[in-house]
Symmetry: C2
Subunit: 106 residues, 2 copies
């Protein structure tokens, strides 16, 4: 299993509509990717690691797929539509990382 | 549910023992935290978001807890022991973020 993490930096003036991201954007991604996305998770940044510190990322979404190829097959054909939706909830440019899930949730 | 993400930057010369992290460190954290950590996940960085790009984080661990207070209650008394184990698998200083789990795995 691999995980594609899309992490939105928490700039001081960052705009991020958490409701839109949860209710519109991520369901759109899942609908377009179909079974090539097994499931996804969504995080809202609360705090950093030291008292009073801001979170590094204001929001994050994680797409779980069987393989990098499965992700590309599911995401590629819809990339333009999905990326085009980003300005509807944020002005931040996401940091993207692909990881191997070494230990996942059962 | 909250999630404490411990993210190890992927510096060019970063040392990170993924086996130790999976087999020793994270089980130690769970053993010490007991039920205050509901479960955890572990990621190994594979790639960044553009072709040929390196992952931002070489490895990540995520602790899922009922609340920030539950995390602090479970982690606090063992922080010294847990932090003291870090040099056994990496020379990187982790970036830590606490997030609210907006959408989790069922």
């Amino acid at each position: 299993m691999i995980k594609v993490s899309v992490m939105y930096p928490n700039a001081p003036e960052a705009r991020f509509d958490h409701d839109y991201y949860r209710d519109k954007h991520m369901p759109l991604v899942k609908a377009r990717m179909g079974d090539s996305c097994k499931y996804y998770t969504v995080d809202k940044g609360l705090a950093g690691g030291t008292p009073g510190a801001a979170p590094v990322y204001v929001g994050m979404g994680h797409l779980f797929c069987d393989s990098v190829a499965a992700f590309q097959r599911g995401f590629g054909p819809h990339a333009k539509e999905i990326m085009g939706d980003i300005p509807n909830y944020t002005d931040q440019k996401p940091v993207i990382q692909i990881s191997e899930v070494v230990v996942g949730k059962e």
